[in-house]
Every structure is written in structure tokens, then in C-alpha cells.
Symmetry: none
Subunit: 534 residues, 2 copies
């Protein structure tokens, strides 16, 4: 089986997309996910043009990656100076990655009109930069910007730029369709010519401006390219980059290339969703392979045929990529996953138990309301416990009131009053916070801590808000996800409401209750709440 | 110039998409738009399977179309009965369109395992149905379902089904990649073989399950197909149908085919947006050709090069399809982008004016705090106006208080009290809402409307929340983006704060002020606020 190197640029070219603004933490999380999936290269930043990227490379220097190599990206040296004196080249080296990527011009017009230098000097810029980086012991990927436009305008010069890179020792030559305007038949023919002329491995880097980036990438591989550059979910400038989430299964499941370790293919849907959450770019539910609609059947005739035999209206088995068929979700694909979750709560429940049917129905109705349990497994566990009677409420909310004042005397512009009942005792208390959710969070913990001292161990580590049906503007539904930790375990809980305070409240309560449930299970005889105080 | 028949199925195959539910009015509006664009065929419904579609065909019987023919769609006759006695065939005729489309099976497996009939009977079903429709004077399009899968499994039988249709008088034969699993090279090779064997015009109908539907459609045309079926924006079941909004310019602007009258090409962006509004399926802003991001540039180097010459990073001139170039503000944006924005406020400002430097410094410091002006150009305009002294405040906030109560008597769990000053007058008022932001939004408009009646024209159309540095959990910074419209213009404003109420407040105020500023500029003598009320 022929191997294809998957080269991810979600963190570099993807960062050019409108609306993308990764924190260093976001980037670390994406690197971890990509490495676990098994991509070969992670192009993680452009340290010469963005100082924040240098901070990131320092941060990840000690990270142990199983599959991937990190890549620092940048331009060839500037006109008329030595590569070793070029600030950008120095920044690339300062990132201390074992592999680097360098882009240069292949289109004669770009050299003379945009760079405004001579064609020979451009060849030297490419060669000098790569030679210098090779002398520093780096693996070097050469990105030939505008290669296809350049080849169409002046094939000899375009090939000469590749030769300059190859002669200088580049480890691979990547052909870029920078403007995204090239068609599949041209991509195939031009890539094939390059592959015939060079022994250096050839890569492909496409953009989606004609809605052809995935097809173009696949055609290039069929013409002999062995490295594919792209981004998760096609995140990228303008119409986006080539979408690796479609290219990987296209190549691996349908053409027999190996892009990632086969056992990781079923993680593709989860990865696509995770990156979309981290980047806060909603996943297109019609996305090939991983979208919620990708294997959803609506037409009655299609549904009937799919029941008779899935091959009727499905090009692959959705489980291969970790997705599931929508109309039959409860019958087939989702069921085994769900059953495992349900059995974790009550091992006596079977596939055909009436409880299973009830839980699936409840899950469907909650997902219809906007809950998304894939990202909040612990909230789902609480739903299952409640339905199976494996749950005793820890407290009851009597009321809360949250107030926000503008202007405020200090940064604590919000206050929350809360009244709860635990057993026969009532506790009322209040707290101030920086914003209403912060005040409410502090108040509820304060109210509960004397009954459940373990609550003091909970720390909220992440808080995310996603507006659903955002066209309804300020009365739209919001989904809140809260990540918590007690230093031993991390958990994620969810709330959905038209009101952000209410959604946050649901997620906060789930976070607290999950902690108490899990502690209770470790200590089968729970301590009764202390009495007589307060 | 070779003509390509564009065959739109937004109303028929598009109606299979998750979330689509057209009213008869919606369908009429879409027909008018498609006809104005100049498509050749509009497949508008399946009267045999959907009684609402029959109502629609009755409704449009008198419509005068300039360019398009309406098509009623349905299956071949059932097994073992005469075409003239088949209920579905009768429904197609009842639609009274001059052209009809009939689909039949081409894959031997589908005939024997799904239809459960003999291969010969399937050929007769195709032939009989088409002959009957031709006898009724109809133009007949034959859709060969699963053609590519069928051809791969049994090419002789797949071709025999086409021959049955052609011999019965079909006016065109459309090859369908029903499951969307076929690759561009196979589409090309198989279409080419069919084109060589038949004199009847050949069509192509693709689905996007491998994210290749556009490329596949284009490859089929390059192989000799002359009819292209698809939908506007790719609306369709699962991953969608082939997207005509990309295919039309791909073929017409880049390969020289004529799909629509050339003078209509500049209407493509408007059409895509209109259909997306009517269908209530938000347009993907990264859509090829027509998305708001399709010609948006963010990286400073790209922006500078695009200013020097657009061909550097644009595959076509955006005006050809009625779209426009956007340069995005951000830390990576070049100075030229900013200068254009600043000059829109004050044309006297130059590249080296001290104001330009000050504005850039301010922009950098705001972006560092988490503002993101590439998505909120109107908030940035207000920043520039304030710095250039081109701004007089419309009102002053004295205070607001927002209260959230749980439990609440009804869905209005939040209330907001607000006190503002306009000139020498003070207004205090309050409003209830579904959530605190909704309550505050209503209260501030209520307070201001008597001074500025134009505020009543503002409608908030989108509300987005992004948590920054989400590791700080419930005290994390949030960024709020609000989109507003007054039916003449849309604008986006931003707020950033650790408190979601405060961030929303900033964005709300900017939205109102932007509206008032732009109205003021159109009427240079603003009306003084009415006095003596309240």
C-alpha cells in the first residue's frame, strides 16, 4: 500500500481564514489531536511574520509527538542579502523544529512584477535559503507558490525554480495552486510532468476557489504526488484550503493509499468536530464523511432502500469514519456506542431493554433542542442516571437572582443571590463576580460547600458559548459547554437555553453533580451533610 | 461557443435536504429568480410522491417564463402494469409541463435486489414510460440513477438501459452519480464512452459525498456532456448536490462554455443570496465565487500584492459574478487596507499622516484586548471617527441594571432598567426579555426611540459569542458580534469584556450609533430631538 504524507496547515494557512484567531492553548490542543490522528507534518506557524507563533514554538518544544513533525514556515531570503543574515530565515531557525517549509515564487510574472527582481535572483533566493537550512540539519519542504499558474505562463521557468530547490537539497517539492483557479485535468497533467522529471517527492497544495480543491488534490496523487497539504474542515483564507477531512478517506478508503494508520480512521468525525469547536468555526453539517447530514436520509424511498441495503444510497459505511447513519441511528450505528455508555451506569441493561429505547428517544429529543452530547459526555451520563433511577438529587434550587450594574464601583459589576435546599436545610447566600455567570458560579459553590466540601476541589477550566439559530439575534438559543477538573479527572457538561444565564446554570449544576456522583461511587457510604451550622 | 443546458433541481432534489421545507410561495419566488438568471430547465417537483407539488404546478401554469422550462419529475412505471395506468406517470402528466424527467435503474444489482424484478422488465419499464410520455407530446429527460456504480458493475447492462431510453425517444440521457462516490477520472472516462455511443445529448447529475461534485460535473462536460444538473448553493440530501453556483462560472468564465446569457453572470451573487434567504439555509460565506469571504484577503503580504495586482491572489475579477474584494482588518493586515478605510471617513488623511500612525496603534492595542475588526468593520469605522473628531455622541449612559430571576413566572425571566441622557434630557425606562441581553436590547431601544425614531428600523439579525482565553472559565473574556440591518444596509459591530452583558452592550451601542451616523450623513442637517415628552 502506497503511503501518502499528510501535511496539515490548519494552524498556519488556516489561521489566514476570516474569523480565526487561535490562542496558544488552542494551537496546543489542535497539535495533540492531529498527532493522535496520525498526520505526518503539522505546519504550525510563521514565526517570521507573527511573534505570537514564536511563543507557541517555545511552548511546544518539549511536547512528545507520536506521529507528527512540527514545521515552521516562512519565505525565502530577501533580495540581495545572505540567507544567514535574513531575519525571516533566522526566525524559522529560532523555532527549533526538525523540519521547516520555505515558499518561493514559480511564476515569472510574480518575480518581475510583485517581487520586482530578476528571474535569476529568484532562483538564487530559493537555492541559497534551502542550502542554508540544510546546512543547519533541517528537513526542508519547498512550497512552489503559484506553481500551476506559473507553469501555464512559462513552464521552463517554473520547472527551473523546482530544480533550484531540488539541487539545493529540498526533501520535497510542493506544487501550490495558490489562487485556487486550476482545474482537475490541468492539475493531473502538470503534476504528472513534474513527477516524471524529479526524483524528489512531490506534494500538492490546493485552494477551493473553484470548489475543486479536494478533487484537485486527489488527481495530483493519482498523477504521482505523495504529499498532500490541506487543513482540517478546509479552514483557510477566501474559500478555504483543500479539506483533509475529505481527502484522507477519499484516498485511503477508496483508492487504497495509506494516509493515516488505519485504526485511526474511525476517529475522523470526532477530530473534525473537536477542531471545529476549538477554532469556533461551526462544522458544516453537510460536510463529506463527517457532517451530521452526511449519512442522513430523508426521502422515504431512499430510507426504504437504505434499510434493504445501505449501498443503495451510501457510498461508504459511515462507521469507517466514526460517523453514523441518521435515520437509523438508534437501530444501527449509534446503538453500540450508546449501549456502552448506558452499561457503564448499569451493566444489566441490554441492547433490547426497554430502557435503551427510552434513552435513545430522550437523546434524540435533547439533540433536537440543541444539546450536543458528543462534546459533553458527563452531562449525558447524568441524563442516563436520571432515567435509570441511579441518581438522587444533591440539592434543590429554590431561587436565584442575578444583577448586573453599569457603571459599577469596581470590576465586580455583577452579584448573585441564591437560595437552595439540601435535605431539610435551606441555605441562602450571595456572591459578587466579574460578569453574571461568574457571580452565579461563585454563589452556588458558596451555598453548597458546607454540605459537600469536595466541591472546593472543582476548578472550571474552560467555558464556551455557541449561538444556535443565531439569526434570531439577541433572543437566539445558546449552547454553553463547561470543562471542569478536580486534578484527578476532567469532565465536560452542557446547557442549552434561549438565555445564557440559564444555559450556564444547567452546565454548572451538571458539573457539580457529576463531581458528587463520582465521589459517591468511590465512597459507597456518603457522609450525611453536617447540620446545625448556617 | 458551445452551449451547456443548465438544469436546476433546487426545488426537487434540493427539497430532500435536511431542514428544507418550501412553501408554494417560496417555490414561485425561486422559479422567478432562476428564470431571470437564464437556466434552461427548472425541475420543480415530484407530483407523484408529493401532493403539495401538484398544487404548485397548478399555481404556476399561467406563469410566463423567459428562459426556463418547468419540469415535473417522477419514476418509471411500476412492475407489470401499463405506463398509462401508472398513478405516478399520470401525476407527472397532470402537472401539465411541456418537459418531464423520468428516472430509472441502471445498476443490475439495484434492479434485482431493490426493485426485485428481472433485468428485461426494467428495460421495458424505461422504454414503455418514455414512449408513453413522448406520445403525449412531452420533451423527456431520462435520469439514469446510479449510472456510474452500475457501469462499473456491469457496463453492458448500464448501457442497455440508456439504449432503452434513447430508442423510446428520450430527448436527453442524464448520467447520475446518485451516491456521490465516483471520482473525477472515472466520471471523465465513463462519460466519454457514453458520449461516443449515443447521438442523444448527455447530461450529468452529481452528489457531493466525496466533496467532488463540482469537479465531477466539470469533468463530465469536458468529456462531452452538454446538460448539467445541480442545485443553487448545492442544497441537497446528505452532502448536497452539485453546486450550480460554482459550476456555472467554472464552465463559462474559465472554459468558455455558455451556460447562461453572459450579461446575467453578474447577478450570480445576488441570486445565491436570495435563494439562501428563501430556503432559510444560511449561505456559506466561504462559498466559491459568491461567499462574502471568496475574495477577502487577510495576510498582510497577500493584501499588499492584491493591491499591486489582483491576479496575484484572485483567480477571477470578483465583479464578474457580482461579488467584491474585501480586505480584512487584523494584526496581519497591511497598511494599505487600513488607509482605504480611514480615507472613507476623511479623504484628507494620507499614508504618513500622524493620525494614521495613531489609529494603527489604537487598532493594535484593541486587537490585543480581543477585538477583531475584520468581522466588525462598522465598529472600526466608529473608532476611526472618534479618533478623527468626526463623531458627536448621540446619548450618554447614566446607568443600567439587569436582573435575572430563576424560577420566573414566564419565558421573560430577565428585566433591564436603563437611564440615559440625550442633550439635557434624561430618560429612564425598563423592559423584560428572554435572557438578560434581550432585555437590555429592548430597554435601550425603548429609551432612545423618541429621540431617534429611525432606531425602529434596526433589526438585529445575528448574535455571536466567542469566549477568548476560555481557560479562565466563567471569568473569561468574551467577544460579542452583532449583525444588524435596516433593510437597506447590513452592519456588524463588536464588544469585548470579561462580562457578556458588558460586551453585548458595547456591540448594541455601536450598532445603534452606526445607524445614526449613516443616517446623519445622508441628511446633513439632523433633526433636533423632540422635546417635552416622557
Amino acid at each position: 500500500m502506497k503511503r501518502i504524507s499528510i501535511y496539515d496547515s490548519t494552524l498556519r494557512d488556516g489561521a489566514q481564514a476570516q474569523g480565526i484567531s487561535y490562542s496558544v492553548e488552542d494551537k496546543v490542543k489542535i497539535v495533540e489531536r492531529l498527532d493522535a490522528l496520525g498526520v505526518r507534518y503539522i505546519e504550525a506557524g510563521n514565526p517570521g511574520s507573527n511573534p505570537k507563533d514564536l511563543e507557541f514554538f517555545e511552548r511546544v518544544r518539549g511536547m512528545k509527538l507520536k506521529n507528527a513533525k512540527l514545521i515552521a514556515f516562512g519565505a525565502t531570503r530577501k533580495i540581495g542579502i545572505k540567507a544567514e543574515d535574513d531575519g525571516n530565515v533566522r526566525s524559522i531557525l529560532a523555532a527549533s523544529t526538525s523540519a521547516v517549509a520555505i515558499f518561493g515564487k514559480s511564476w515569472d510574472y510574480q518575480v518581475t512584477e510583485i517581487l520586482r527582481t530578476k528571474l535569476d535572483e529568484n532562483l538564487r533566493m530559493i537555492g541559497d535559503t534551502i542550502r542554508h537550512l540544510k546546512q543547519q540539519g533541517k528537513e526542508v519542504v519547498y512550497d512552489a507558490e503559484h506553481f500551476f499558474d506559473g507553469f501555464k505562463a512559462n513552464p521552463d521557468y517554473a520547472l527551473a525554480t523546482l530544480k533550484a530547490a531540488a539541487d539545493a537539497g529540498a526533501d520535497s517539492l510542493c506544487l501550490c495552486d495558490t489562487n485556487g483557479g486550476t482545474f482537475p485535468n490541468d492539475i493531473f497533467a502538470i503534476t504528472q510532468k513534474v513527477v516524471e522529471q524529479f526524483r524528489t517527492p512531490i506534494g500538492i497544495h490546493c485552494h477551493n476557489d473553484c470548489e475543486m480543491a479536494v478533487a484537485n488534490s486527489v488527481m495530483a496523487v493519482q498523477a504521482g504526488a505523495t504529499q498532500v497539504q490541506g487543513t482540517i474542515n478546509g479552514i483557510g483564507e477566501r474559500c478555504g484550503n483543500a479539506n483533509l477531512i475529505a481527502i484522507i478517506p477519499d484516498l485511503q478508503l477508496k483508492l487504497g493509499f495509506e494516509c493515516i494508520p488505519p485504526q485511526n480512521m474511525a476517529g475522523l468525525t470526532t477530530l473534525a468536530r473537536a477542531v471545529s469547536e476549538i477554532a469556533n468555526m461551526p462544522l458544516n453539517e453537510k460536510a463529506a464523511y463527517v457532517g451530521a447530514d452526511a449519512f442522513a436520509h430523508k426521502g422515504g424511498m431512499h430510507v426504504d432502500a437504505v434499510v434493504k441495503n445501505p449501498v443503495s444510497y451510501e457510498h461508504i459505511d459511515p462507521e469507517l469514519v466514526g460517523n453514523s447513519r441518521r435515520t437509523l441511528m438508534s437501530e444501527v450505528a449509534g446503538r453500540s456506542t450508546l449501549l456502552a455508555r448506558i452499561r457503564a451506569v448499569d451493566p444489566a441493561i441490554g441492547k433490547d431493554s426497554p430502557e435503551t429505547r427510552k434513552i435513545i428517544d430522550r437523546l434524540k429529543s435533547l439533540e433536537h433542542e440543541g444539546y450536543h452530547f458528543e462534546a459533553a459526555e458527563q452531562s449525558f451520563e447524568l441524563v442516563v442516571r436520571k432515567m435509570l433511577g441511579k441518581y438522587t438529587p444533591f440539592f434543590e434550587l429554590i431561587e436565584f437572582k442575578v444583577m448586573v450594574n453599569e457603571p459599577s464601583a469596581d470590576s465586580m459589576n455583577s452579584s448573585a443571590m441564591i437560595k437552595i435546599r439540601v435535605g431539610s436545610e435551606v441555605e441562602i447566600t450571595a456572591a459578587e463576580g466579574d460578569g453574571p455567570v461568574n457571580a452565579l458560579d461563585k454563589a452556588v459553590r458558596k451555598a453548597l460547600e458546607r454540605f459537600y466540601p469536595a466541591i472546593a476541589e472543582i476548578r472550571l477550566t474552560d467555558y464556551k458559548v455557541r449561538v444556535l439559530d443565531s439569526k434570531e439575534a439577541s433572543a437566539a438559543k445558546v449552547r454553553v459547554l463547561i470543562e471542569s477538573t478536580d486534578q484527578r479527572e476532567n469532565w465536560t457538561t452542557i446547557g442549552v437555553s434561549t438565555d445564557i444565564i440559564d444555559a450556564s446554570w444547567q452546565a454548572l449544576v451538571d458539573s457539580i453533580e457529576y463531581k458528587l456522583v463520582k465521589d459517591q461511587e468511590k465512597r459507597p457510604t456518603p457522609q450525611p451533610p453536617p447540620r446545625g451550622r448556617g
